[in-house]
Amino acid sequence: MSSHSDALWAHQFESFDQQRESTSLGMWLFIGQEIMFFGGLFAAYLVYRISNPLIFKVASSELSVLWGGINTAVLILSSFTMAMAVREAQLGRGKKTAIFLLLTLVLGLGFVGIKSIEYSSKFEHHLIPGQEFEWHPYNEQQVAAYEELKATTGYTEEFIQSRMELFFSIYFAMTGLHALHMLIGVGLIIWLLPRALRNEFNADYHNPVECFGLYWHFVDLVWIFLFPLLYLLGRNI
């Protein structure tokens, strides 16, 4: 074993195996905490979605399935490149690890870029919750759905506006927290890149790449649920 590897073996562990299992367990405990963190927002979504099923359907049709779908594909692809980066780190190939990390970084930034396009269009359409919020049905389908909503439920226009705003509050809270996680992930890749290029990772020690991979896949998981729950409601109305 090289002396370089010895330096990465913390003295309290019996072996590299035990060291890896311990850091991995720590990361999984953090992910458990993250599940509850996002879980609170999913619970808010669940409660208000069940109370306002029809309004949420109309509100959801404001979101772009195309951008949301492309972003889902971008994120899944980035999870693949991340899994490959961990694999290359396990094989001790620093340069290839760095290349896959860089691809993950580019895809992650692509995701955030597309998200910002979506956010700015919501801004232009006055769909940011707050004083300026004002929703208008913009195509025939939405006008028909809006009229039907008013006729069948007897909701006032003010009530419908307030529940539309509620949907967008939940949308921005959930996707915003998710995008923040993406940006933190991008920062962590920038920290890992030079370490990969210095060939610090090998079969015994690749814990930082492995744990960051777990984080990145978790962020992907959140989006896998956000996409259908936010974007794909009421596509059949």
């Binding site: 072996s15 195996d17 999984w28 896949h217 896998i224 649920f225």
Partner: protein
């Protein structure tokens, strides 16, 4: 110190084909998710959407996150996290949707 071969016996390196297969499956399931959203199955739309998302999540956790080769402690951490997430959902929904079922004194 023990030899290198001895210390990495718990390391499983997946073949690239596994990761490519999972990537393909995730993309196909995403396309299916979008296509079924345009069909009207009533309340079943939500069941189908969450079912497909859970299938994708299972693939990511099992293969990309190496859960299938993880230690028992990690598997328990994962199982208990999901269990308590469900507990949180169930108790919150029990609260919200049983309010007003009973006449509350002084209401």
């Amino acid at each position: 110190m023990s030899s290198s071969s001895d210390s990495s016996h718990s390391l499983h390196i997946e073949p690239i084909s596994t990761y490519l297969g999972i990537l393909g499956a995730l993309i196909v399931l995403t396309v299916v998710t979008v296509l079924v959203a345009y069909e009207d199955f009533g309340h079943l739309n939500d069941v189908v959407a969450v079912g497909l998302a859970s299938t994708k999540a299972t693939l990511v956790i099992t293969f990309f996150m190496h859960a299938r080769h993880a230690t028992r402690a990690v598997k328990w951490t994962l199982a208990l996290s999901i269990f308590f997430l469900v507990v949180m959902f169930v108790y919150i929904l029990m609260d919200y949707y049983t309010r007003g079922l009973l006449d509350v004194f002084g209401k």
